[in-house]
């Protein structure tokens, strides 16, 4: 392996040197997605980001992608093959690609890697994510106002900090405007499985939920909400086509500006390993059009909250807040630090049920 990796490294370095010398050579950018690009959720938005890169750089860039790549050993092979095919920059767009990304990056020191939602970096591995919890705060507020049964159904994927953060953020803001609100959380252990997600939505509705939130990537829960005549929030992407009357709004992940800037950095030779965590203000988290079903005053409050988060006047995790077990977390006037948020593995006070252990 040693000699082999040195050789590939050397061959690659040669290739890169040559591409630097010949300016007409294209920068090759690879993307791997955990779901199909047609999930109309998470992977779809990453692919939109890829298309934006093509749009921005035209003939000077070549993009390749691979969809539905399982997290684990398969991802490692896919990324290696992309690197061997001459990719200069590879975006691995799911949490489970973390260790494979690091492994492949170690073998190809001249290729740059960008891993979404992870926490391990290297000289040629950056991480990036969006502050989805800012969006969750806004839809939590709307959900608290809109629910009549005081029951919000929440379809959660995996009990990782990103998802737990979203549940906490939504709950805190629903509770603030509706002290009687209850959250029912179903863990489906998948990012993309329309059948499982639909089952979860149906189960939640049977338990009395009249507002559905999801942290999974398919449009199935939105479709069920539409069928059952209740309301829901789109996830990662505008899901209005799948719930024309059901969708109240959606949290949209807009990766395009980030992807364009990172590709530009590779082209300019200014790329450095960084950790990016952007929210509403730079536009990484955005919202779909708010439905007419939301009363005007609620919509105004939601829009005010968006402005306040943007300006930094409001942090979604502001004290006083207690943990689920009643112990103090944030005192009055205190806001959560990024370190705690990044590793969040506890519910806030008031949430029922347990995080799967």
């Amino acid at each position: 392996m040693k000699l082999h990796s040195i050789l590939t490294g050397a061959a690659l370095a040669l290739g890169l040197a040559a591409s630097g010398a010949m300016a007409q050579d294209k920068t090759k950018v690879g993307f791997i997605y955990v779901g199909p690009v047609g999930d109309f959720g998470w992977s779809y938005e990453h692919n939109e980001g890829r298309l934006a890169v093509e749009e921005a750089f035209g003939d000077s860039v070549e993009t390749v992608f691979q969809e539905s790549v399982p997290e684990g050993a398969d991802a490692e092979r896919v990324m290696t093959q992309m690197a061997l095919s001459g990719a200069d920059l590879i975006f691995s767009t799911s949490f489970g690609y973390m260790d494979p990304t690091l492994n492949v990056a170690a073998k190809f020191p001249d290729v740059k890697f960008e891993h979404a939602t992870g926490f391990k970096r290297a000289d040629n591995v950056s991480t990036y994510s969006a502050r989805f919890y800012e969006g969750r705060a806004v839809i939590g507020h709307i959900a608290g106002k809109m629910t009549e049964t005081n029951t919000v159904g929440y379809i959660a994927s995996f009990p990782i900090p990103e998802v737990i953060r979203g549940i906490n953020s939504a709950y805190i803001h629903a509770k603030k405007v509706n002290p009687d609100v209850e959250f029912k959380v179903v863990w489906v252990y998948t990012w993309f499985d329309p059948a499982k997600e639909a089952d979860a939505a149906n189960a939640l509705i049977e338990q009395g939920a009249d507002v559905i939130m999801q942290h999974t990537d398919s449009t199935a829960p939105m479709t069920i909400a539409e069928e059952k005549g209740i309301v829901a929030f789109g996830q990662a992407s505008d899901m209005k086509n799948f719930g024309p009357t059901a969708q109240l709004t959606a949290i949209i992940d807009d990766w395009a500006p980030y992807y364009v800037s990172r590709v530009k950095a590779v082209m300019d030779g200014t790329w450095e390993s960084t950790d990016t965590w952007d929210g509403i203000e730079p536009g990484m988290v955005a919202f779909a059009e708010m439905s007419d079903k939301i009363p005007a005053d609620v919509r105004a409050e939601a829009e005010q909250m968006i402005e306040d988060i943007k300006s930094g006047a409001y942090h979604p995790f502001s004290g006083p807040l207690n943990k689920q077990d009643g112990s103090a977390w944030l005192a009055e006037g205190e806001t959560a630090d990024d370190g705690t948020l990044a590793g969040m593995n506890f519910y806030v006070e008031g949430l029922e049920g347990e995080i799967p252990q």
Binding site: K2, E71, L84, N103, F119, Y189, Q357
Partner: protein, 361 residues
């Protein structure tokens, strides 16, 4: 008109020819599908079947990967084929694979960070035992209460998946993971790492185990009394009983062997290519192995070739996706065609086509 006529005995020639014919038909039908998708069918077929082996840019990496991908498929399929021959349907290899990985990884992690040569062998034993015991549940329920082993073994997969999630989130979660699920990476723990035996070849212990399993299964089926009982139980259960085969014992033996081998495959995967117990560690090897077993005609040598062919379609399929922009679903459809044509053409082993004029009997 065409009519089907049962052959007096299965045709040996067709039995040999069907896998090749099925591959050929898959290439044609798949080529048509790729053409409809607006891609060059010849380029697509070449990328899937030729590039992983011979393309100068990729082959040095993808050829060894073929072994990495085929190893667990072959190991599991060999075990399944014994049961399938005897009419014992273990559909739950995926679950046994998961449990093998959990038991093996847990054994290794229990010693962390001690370094000793004994750790990996202990993990291998634990992995095989884990898979074996998981398979004993459907086996014993069948022998004692006559339950259906297809259903029980399949349902045990879902239990195993939940257990896997619980382990990744709880008992086996890495203390250094910052609250994220997933165990320590065994690749970074030398005593527990199932590393490549010869660098750059993809050859790890799991591949060796698969090759040994092929040879052992071949000897078992052709030279051993148990192999004779297995074959007889599948084709003529009553005769098998007269020949001294005990049906209950046969069920336990076949399920045990297939479970143990699936568990081994899981252990070698988690300690090697995958590296860690994560919530979605399993990626369908246990189910794909069923296809491999049938594609290989339940014959050890056939399974060896079928496993390699299946691995080739995976790796070539991945290449085709990002070099030609083929959708992932079209690759899955392509793999599905392979099984479809195999089963379709297989009919010609037992039947022959006859032209019949109207009115003829």
């Amino acid at each position: 008109m065409i009519a089907l006529e049962k052959r007096p005995a299965p045709s040996r020639a067709w039995s040999m020819a069907t896998p090749f014919l099925a591959v050929l038909l898959t290439m044609i039908a798949g080529g048509i599908m790729f053409a409809i998708l607006g891609k060059d069918p010849f380029a697509a077929i070449r990328t899937i079947f030729y590039d992983p082996l011979f393309n100068a840019q990729f082959a040095s990496y993808s050829r060894p990967q073929l072994l990495v991908k085929a190893g667990p498929l072959i190991l599991i399929a060999i075990g399944l084929s014994l049961g399938f021959r005897a009419g014992i349907w273990n559909i739950g290899a995926e679950g046994q694979y998961i449990i093998g990985a959990i038991c093996g990884a847990a054994t290794g992690l229990a010693f962390y960070p001690m370094e000793s040569w004994i750790i990996l062998p202990l993990m291998i034993i634990a992995g095989a035992l884990g898979g074996l015991l998981w398979a004993m549940v459907p086996a014993l329920l069948k022998t004692l209460f006559n339950t259906n082993e297809i259903l029980v073994s399949l349902l045990m997969v879902y239990i195993a998946e939940q257990l896997l999630a619980a382990m990744a989130l709880g008992a086996l979660r890495s203390p250094d993971g910052g609250g994220f699920p997933g165990s320590r990476n065994l690749q970074q723990y030398p005593s527990a790492h199932n590393a490549e035996l010869i660098a750059g070849t993809g050859l790890h212990l799991g591949v060796i185990a698969a090759l040994i399993a092929v040879i052992m299964a071949y000897i078992l089926l052709s030279r051993h009394m148990l192999g004779f009982h297995i074959q007889l139980a599948g084709s003529a259960p009553k005769a098998a009983r007269f020949a001294g085969a005990k049906p209950g014992l046969l069920v336990v033996t076949c399920m045990g062997i297939s479970g143990g081998l699936a568990g081994l495959a899981g252990l070698f995967e988690v300690a090697g290519p995958a590296g860690q117990i994560s919530i979605d560690f399993n990626s369908g090897y246990g189910f794909t192995a069923i296809i491999v077993a049938f594609l290989g005609r339940l014959n050890p040598i056939g399974i060896l070739l079928a496993g390699l062919l299946m691995a080739l379609t995976y790796i070539g399929g991945e290449l085709a996706q990002f070099t030609l922009g083929l959708p992932a679903a079209s690759i899955q459809a392509f793999q599905g065609m392979l099984l479809f044509f195999l089963l379709g053409v297989d009919m010609l082993t037992n039947f022959r086509l006859r032209w019949k004029t109207k009115g003829a009997v």
